[in-house]
């Protein structure tokens, strides 16, 4: 269930509170290494670099977290970000699955969705800096 896959953020990483969605992206940047010597017209791709990011949507009707997020954004500082399956009373206890990973990341995108007669949603994207471990 998607409910039990959560993002963890912070120097002592904790599950992001009031989250409604999270998205993890791990991707490789490819480059065509084919040359004039290549014997077909197909590209010969090789991965030249890798990147990862985590995006989290969370409900924040009082905007209590926004100031801290802007401060973090302005600081350019890295923080620990990762993901794991969770359970427990508030569904915030990490289960240490073999797919759980973490790494240093920078908060590089904050967006606020404030529709009339609707809860406010803040979306934060953390861009990985360095390897996942």
């Amino acid at each position: 269930m998607g409910q039990n896959f959560r993002a963890f953020v912070g120097s002592t990483p904790a599950a992001v509170a009031e989250a409604t969605n999270c998205q993890v992206t791990i991707s490789g940047n490819m480059e065509d290494s084919s040359t004039k010597d290549s014997e077909s017209s197909w590209t010969e791709e090789q991965m030249v670099s890798k990147q990862w990011s985590v995006s989290v949507d969370n409900v924040d009707s009082t905007l209590a977290s926004l100031r801290a997020l802007i401060t973090q954004f302005n600081s350019d500082e890295k923080t620990t970000v990762g993901w794991d399956r969770t359970s427990g009373a508030q569904n915030r206890v990490a289960q240490n699955e073999n797919f759980a990973r973490s790494g240093d990341a920078i908060l590089n995108d904050i967006s606020i969705q404030a529709n009339n007669r609707s809860t406010i949603t803040i979306t934060c994207q953390y861009q990985g800096s360095g390897a996942l471990s």
Binding site: T12, A14, T80, R92, V93, A100, S102
Partner: protein, 82 residues
Amino acid sequence: MEKNEKPKAPEAVNEQETIKPGVPVKVEGETRAEVADKIKEMRSRAAEQGLTDKEGGFIHHVKGKDIDDPGIFAAEMIFIKK
């Protein structure tokens, strides 16, 4: 003549300490698997004391002091009464 010294009392090891409700507990290890095992052990001990996880338990890498130091893996947990 060498002075006779009393043998040192064994230091309190983590495994014998009581887990306090609401107080963060930290476990560390060289690998993710080692920390995962320690977390299992800690959860088992907490259950014996009538405690359960409140939050945490997320294993993360802690960088070393320099390029030659591979760092460690760590996790912090908070237990509460069931």
